[in-house]
């Protein structure tokens, strides 16, 4: 409570906290936020704990949160039964590929439009901005047809390349590049560097913060991507984690030995990588969302 009496910024400050009324209000704020915390944390906690339960235990009345036994061998049992490594590997390939294309293609486009500005760049800029309105899944039928025509069914390539045409990431790059001092690029050009060298040797090293941001967003978005992978990846050995989960969910009633408890465990597998990423980069992620308004 002493810290309240030192609060100098914001709506309620130290002078207010001399009054009991405001102290009670602050306790109310703490209680309310703690309740919000329970709402955000309870479902994932329930998921993890229940994945150790038996199918019968999950639907048991009265409700219990803690499983009868925390048998960690179940983790490897479910993983091995489904040979889950291959889906993980596919997802990792798509995700890393997505990060690479996302940085290279959105970055280069933003570099050309923000810094090089070749004749006619404004038309390209306007078209990219207009594509903000057009979510790619809106035209899913024709996009799927393109992929069929190019013989890329069961290929991971289009799923990674999709992230190279992302107007949100483009804007993040462009806004950042706009703020870099122009003199730097001119100096490098005078020293004889070509346009591409300026990008790799000057722009990219100066852009670490925005590279981190776009990478984190692309990582989580590509890991979670579902519709296009679901349409494109038709053979089991090519499926990503999300596609496999959806298939397991749809088949749950029909396949023997795979009950709701196993499905919960597989869902838990899918949230582990983004959760780890979040714990490493949480400060970075939360501050970027706040300033850019882009969520994933």
């Amino acid at each position: 409570m002493k810290r309240l009496l030192k609060k100098t910024q914001g709506l309620i400050v130290q002078f207010d906290y001399h009054k009991t009324r405001f102290k009670l209000l602050y306790i109310g704020i703490l209680i309310f936020l703690s309740l919000a915390l329970v709402v955000t944390i309870f479902p994932p906690v329930w998921l993890i704990l229940s994945s150790f339960k038996s199918a019968r235990e999950i639907y048991q009345v009265p409700f219990t949160l803690w499983p009868d036994s925390l048998d960690f061998s179940k983790v490897s049992d479910v993983w091995n039964m489904l040979d889950f490594s291959k889906y993980y590997v596919n997802s990792i390939i798509v995700t890393l590929g997505a990060v690479l294309t996302s940085i290279v293609f959105n970055g280069l486009l933003a570099y050309a439009i923000s810094i090089i500005k070749p004749a006619g760049y404004k038309i390209v800029f306007a078209l990219v901005m207009a594509s903000l309105m057009i979510p790619p899944i809106l035209n899913m039928g024709t996009l799927f047809n393109y992929i069929v025509k190019l013989n890329m069914i069961n290929s991971l390539l289009p799923l990674a390349l999709l992230f190279g045409a992302n107007p949100f990431y483009f804007i993040l790059f462009k806004t950042y590049f706009d703020s870099l001092p122009e003199a730097l690029f001119e100096a490098a050009r005078i020293d004889g560097a070509n346009r591409l060298q300026v990008f790799t040797m000057i722009v990219l090293p100066l852009s670490k913060p925005i590279l981190a941001v776009v990478s984190i967003f692309t990582l989580t978005a590509a890991w979670s991507d579902f519709l296009l992978p679901f349409l494109v990846l038709q053979s089991d050995s090519k499926q990503t984690v999300m596609v496999k989960i959806y298939q397991l969910y749809n088949d749950m009633g029909t396949s023997m030995g795979f009950g709701p408890d196993s499905l919960l465990m597989v869902i838990a597998f899918s949230i582990v990588p983004p959760v780890i990423l979040f714990f490493i980069f949480q400060r970075h992620i939360t501050s970027t969302v706040a300033t850019t308004g882009i969520r994933e």
Partner: protein, 297 residues
């Protein structure tokens, strides 16, 4: 243009265009191409996913004649209504409370954002479990402790949409909260101090200092939320398959149904064009509102 001038023009611009070219090709492949093909396909009959004979506005007529289309359209309005009712106020309140927090601020901020990083499909399946309608479903079993229920949850046509919106809000509210929080941190303390010296009560400070400052952000996020809700797709697809009896089917889900479940790509294309027009109108409104905001502030 003579030879040397042309050469200089090319030298100046060719490099830039070469650098843009791969990215432009990707935008053509993933966004502009499918959009144009879609517009074109919508005026033809489809053979598989390819164009057959020209049929004029026949596909549009079919879409409008489909009772499920009007259902999906009004459902989308319902999604919008519920998302504004359930989802719009919560982030503002959370941001206000978070900004006043002195203890464990970073922890609360991360925890409230946390659901956002859980993959969409995992979130949807998780909540499908929580909303299990059986006696032993998680929420029913918890409510049973208080002698309530069991409730049919997603099986109730009147509850399906609000519950789907609840799921979306659970996932998305944290991110919106952080945007409001950033906006709140930009309120200069001078205004609060002035208000306090004038003897303004807490409510008066919120009413006359905080809220006016938030208005531009509120306007922007209001329209953005509507645009986002118009694109709701995965949630009804997975949680209810649009049911019960199409009570929760959304426009994008209907496109999916036409294209991949009924094998009518042309009809899907026509609906895609219609939804694109709606999004265009909403975006136009958004730009109008935000531009006006900039001019006055």
């Amino acid at each position: 243009m003579n030879g040397s001038k042309l050469k200089r023009f090319l030298k100046k611009n060719l490099g830039g265009w070469l650098i843009m070219l791969p990215s432009i090709l990707l935008f053509i492949f993933f966004i502009w191409g499918p959009l144009l093909s879609n517009i074109s396909l919508s005026f033809f009959e489809s053979i598989g996913y390819d164009r057959g004979a020209f049929t004029g506005f026949e596909n549009y007529r079919e879409v409008f004649a489909d009772p499920v289309f009007s259902k999906a359209f009004f459902n989308t309005l319902k999604y919008t209504f519920w998302s504004l009712l359930l989802g719009f106020g919560i982030p503002i309140i959370l941001a206000l409370l978070l900004s006043e927090l002195v203890h464990a601020k970073g922890f609360f901020r991360s925890a409230i954002y946390f659901p956002n990083i859980i993959p969409g499909l995992a979130t949807i399946l998780l909540w499908t479990f929580l909303f299990d309608p059986s006696q032993g479903g998680v929420l029913n079993a918890i409510l049973d402790i208080f002698n309530l229920g069991p409730f049919p949850w997603l099986n109730d046509p009147d509850l399906a949409i609000p519950l789907i919106v609840l799921t979306m809000t659970w996932k998305g509210a944290g991110a919106t909260t952080l945007i409001y929080l950033a906006s709140l941190q930009n309120v200069s303390d001078v205004y609060y101090e002035a208000a306090r010296i004038d003897g303004a009560s807490l409510w008066q400070r919120i009413r006359h200092v905080t809220l006016p400052h938030l208005i531009p952000t509120v306007k922007t996020l209001f329209i953005l939320q509507i645009i986002m809700v118009f694109q709701v797709f995965y949630e009804p697809l997975v949680m209810t398959d649009g049911g019960p009896n199409n009570a929760s089917i959304s426009l994008l889900q209907l496109i999916y149904r036409y294209a991949f479940q009924q094998g009518n790509a042309a009809k899907a294309a026509a609906l895609g064009v219609l939804v694109a027009l709606m999004l265009f109108a909403l975006t136009f409104a958004y730009l109008k509102i935000t531009n006006r905001g900039k001019k006055t502030s």
